[in-house]
């Protein structure tokens, strides 16, 4: 009994001690705990990568384009029907289609409080046109681009160029963002160092940590348009005080932070982590980019064996989209077979010229036969294989296996993405650091017309996209496309261009994937568009 009593007493003492200890720990943690998030109007977002380059004209990097949409504005914007709409400026086109007059809205200000002028916009357009291929084509037919007065920009053409408005509303890299004249006068080969814009958010320079964190504050003096938002067109009404982009290199960490409420938005969660989010009732999926991304392979036209069009065709016959997409994405809910080089669900979508094998199971036997007919001598095909970027890691491996099955000898060269970016720019022979094939991805708005689709640039070694396809016929058709006046006309020419591009094997489109963003239910009003957009988004406390 005594033993029992003393045992109970000991247990009581130990329970008391445990409770005391727990209370001390809890009290300590309570003291240490930060104040509850008072700022209910700060959106914390993890984007697909860290922001490092701040000039959206010098680079085509999507994160820098997204940054551009935060702090800069555009003269025109693209709506969800793919139509250019007035944004900073209203426009008029002369009857002969040679003069475009753009009139700036009243009251537009730069973030330093000075008024936006036509001269600023002329300087911005000129800098943009030096970097953008569509802009270069426009400037090739431009007679003059001037500021008629403080609010009027006049573009005079030497000959009609129908896509002028599309170019000024270009939604993805390189977007013609407007900058103050003193900034826009920076040579287009040097990064700007002043981030003054006139967009709905201001860049907070003091809090910028390259690759770690970037902070934007609402620009109180921004005057949004009255129309409802639609893609990048319409009113850019900011409904929060701040937006913070926090870079998290580890996707699992970002998902944990989203689940615990430390962040509100995750732009590009890996597909294999999405099921974890589906079990959390505080999280929702959101497809901000309904056009998705096109994944593709590009061959080098300069050197054997791919300087031979029959061998390029044999390579294309060997590959198929399903194998690539299932390895890359896995879940069929997030990918789509699509033979159109312009992407699917866009006005110019067409299957013209696409070999059925591409969207079926491939045709290794036909590929073997064609290889034999072409006299393939067994030259090993060097495929650049990035191992550090998850969205480009699977394609080279799947393609290599398909090519081997068709009789190619293949050498996969593993490397980091940045090495690939450098290497693919090399026009040297293979023995001197050249290459035969690489893979990359484009968002829909970057391939949806023959003018913006980089792989349809057929200007060869001097002005073409890596791989350097040289086909004057395609170039001539692109000029015809630029002069086409109706959508029907454009569609007909675009189909012919794609037919020719497939004949040339300009590139091998390997299908489309759509990765949804994740967000907490405290956010509302998210917009679809060519980039993740943060105006119109509300955050509940």
């Amino acid at each position: 009994m005594i033993w029992f009593k003393s045992g109970a007493s000991a247990r009581k003492r130990s329970t008391t001690a445990a409770l005391t200890m727990a209370s001390v720990v809890a009290l300590g943690l309570a003291i240490l705990a930060p104040a509850a998030h008072a700022a209910g109007t700060t959106i914390r977002a993890v984007m697909h990568s860290g922001l490092r380059v701040l000039d959206p004209i010098i680079t085509t990097a999507h994160i820098t384009r997204n940054h551009g949409y935060m702090i800069y504005d555009t003269l025109l914007s693209m709506d969800s029907n793919y139509k250019p709409q007035p944004q900073m400026a209203e426009y008029k086109v002369s009857d002969d289609g040679l003069t475009y007059t753009l009139t700036l809205r009243e009251g537009l200000l730069w973030h330093d409080g000075t008024p936006v002028t036509a001269e600023d916009c002329v300087a911005s357009l000129k800098r943009w046109a030096q970097r953008d291929t569509g802009g270069q084509m426009m400037m090739d037919v431009t007679e003059s681009l001037t500021a008629a007065d403080a609010r009027t920009i006049v573009l005079k053409l030497k000959q009609p160029f129908a896509p002028v408005l599309d170019m000024l509303a270009k939604p993805s890299s390189v977007v013609p963002f407007m900058m103050p004249k003193k900034v826009a006068e920076t040579p287009s080969t040097e990064s700007i160092t002043d981030q003054t814009g006139s967009g709905p958010f201001k860049f907070v320079k003091g809090e910028f940590q390259p690759g770690v964190k970037v902070v934007y504050e609402k620009f109180d003096k921004y005057i949004p348009r009255k129309e409802p938002p639609s893609w990048t067109a319409g009113g850019k009404v900011v409904k929060v005080d701040r937006v913070e982009w926090i870079n998290m290199p580890d996707a699992q960490t970002a998902l944990n932070a989203l689940g615990s409420g430390e962040i509100d938005y995750m732009e590009a969660p890996p597909v294999d982590l999405l099921p974890m989010a589906e079990g959390n009732r505080d999280l929702r999926k959101f497809i901000w980019n309904p056009l998705g991304s096109q994944t593709m392979g590009r061959m080098n036209f300069l050197y054997p064996p791919f300087d031979n069009v029959k061998i390029r065709r044999a390579a294309m016959l060997a590959m198929n989209q399903e194998d690539v997409l299932s390895a890359l994405i896995g879940n069929p809910d997030y990918y789509k077979i699509c033979a159109s080089m312009y992407g699917c669900g866009v006005p110019l979508e067409t299957n013209a010229g696409a070999p059925p094998s591409l969207t079926l199971k491939g045709d290794p036997k036909a590929a073997q036969a064609l290889l034999k007919e072409a006299g393939y001598d067994g030259t090993p095909v060097v495929i650049l294989q990035p191992t550090d970027v998850i969205t480009t890691a699977a394609q080279p491996v799947v393609a290599a296996q398909a090519l081997r099955a068709a009789g190619f000898k293949v050498v996969l060269q593993p490397m980091d993405w940045q090495t690939l970016v450098t290497r693919r720019a090399s026009q040297a022979p293979i023995a001197e650091g050249g290459w035969h094939m690489f893979f990359t991805n484009w968002i829909g708005a970057e391939v949806w017309t023959p003018l913006v689709n980089p792989m349809m640039n057929a200007r060869g070694k001097k002005g073409g996209f890596f791989g350097w396809m040289d086909d004057p016929e395609i170039e001539a058709m692109r000029v015809s496309f630029a002069a086409a006046k109706t959508l029907e006309e454009q569609k007909a020419i675009a189909a012919k261009i794609q037919q020719r591009a497939y004949d040339d094997v300009a590139y091998v489109p390997l299908g489309t994937y759509i990765i949804p963003a994740l967000y907490r239910t405290s956010l509302s009003g998210l917009l679809q568009g060519p980039a993740p957009l943060f105006w119109n988004v509300k955050k509940a406390n």
């Binding site: 240490l32 701040l54 890299s173 390259p210 960490t253 932070a257």
Partner: protein, 313 residues
């Protein structure tokens, strides 16, 4: 001692010079072009060349080297090619998280590991010794990111005692700082606890077999005094060496832990800079870490004389 200190500091200058030369040359060997990285997908060869020229990368390598050394002599580490931010600013932004995490980790490791090592040595060959050594092997063998994720799952997600990720500077308050530093510090400490505990045990076992320990015991000195005053102090030199090296490693290479806990430290800065071929940043960081290694080695050497009066400089 002062003369020795001065000699060692002066000797560090040529060491740093050699490091600077090697780093500069080695970085130019692997493929990679910051201009191509900046320009992106659609740049033409002419545009790439123009950007390269704008960055000064078209100049001969000796000219680039002399320019960089000239800047260094004026205390200027240069400017990031990618973000156009001064390298000193970038390092300044990242040094705080790294240093504070390294310090907390080391203090935590020493506080836990040294008593564990002493206990294992004292109870040599017993069940206690086996348990301590098993914990050490576990800490050393389990990948650090696994430990990190487990701690996050238990203490941040399930119990909600700590935030999942992030870092808060100490000037924002001790509370937020401690809350965010705790899990990463325990994660990193798992390795160093194992390492220091094993070193303490091994070193102490050597000393416990010495004649003077037997003499002390024979004189009736208490076991605690024998262990902590006579044995531990005399076995501290190798332990201190491990601690010094560990601290230097913590400053230069904890990129996995920094990624798991989203800490904007020097490790991530180095990896990002290497991937982007951001030469000035890489050069600046390697010089900095070399300097830290030299300094820590010097401090460790000097501390030997405090622990062991037989060592004189």
């Amino acid at each position: 001692m002062l003369a020795y200190f001065s000699r060692r500091v002066l000797a560090a200058i040529p060491v740093m010079g050699v490091v600077a030369l090697f780093v500069f040359l080695l970085l130019r060997l692997p493929p990679g072009d910051p201009a191509a990285i900046i320009a992106g997908d659609t740049a033409t060869p002419a545009q790439l060349e123009a950007i390269r020229s704008g960055l000064g990368l078209d100049k001969p390598i000796p000219v680039q080297f002399i320019t960089w050394i000239g800047q260094l002599a004026q205390g200027d580490l240069g400017t990031s090619l990618i973000s156009k931010t001064p390298v000193t600013t970038l390092i300044g932004q990242r040094l705080g998280p790294t240093l504070s995490l390294a310090l907390i980790t080391m203090v935590l490791s020493i506080v836990i590991a040294v008593p564990l090592g002493v206990l294992a040595a004292w109870k040599h060959g017993t069940f206690v010794d086996s348990i301590v050594m098993a914990i050490s092997v576990l800490g050393f063998s389990v990948p650090v990111f696994v430990i990190g994720y487990v701690l996050i799952q238990v203490f941040a997600i399930n119990l909600r005692w700590f935030p999942v990720q992030g870092f808060s500077n100490i000037e924002n308050g001790l509370g937020p700082f401690a809350l965010r530093a705790t899990l990463p510090a325990f994660t990193l400490a798992s390795i160093y606890v194992a390492l220091i505990a094993r070193m303490t045990r091994a070193s102490l076992l050597d000393v416990l077999g010495e004649d003077y320990i037997r003499t002390a015991r024979a004189k009736g000195v208490t076991e605690r005094k024998v262990l902590f005053r006579h044995a531990l102090r005399n076995s501290a030199v190798p332990i201190l060496t491990v601690i010094g090296t560990g601290f230097a490693l913590l400053i230069s290479g904890v990129v996995v832990t920094e990624s798991v806990f989203n800490i904007p430290g020097l490790g991530r800065l180095i990896v990002d800079a290497v991937l982007a071929r951001d030469y000035p940043v890489i050069q600046g960081l390697i010089l900095l870490t070399s300097g830290i290694y030299v300094l820590i080695n010097l401090l460790v050497d000097l501390s030997y004389s405090l622990l062991d009066p037989r060592i004189r400089y």
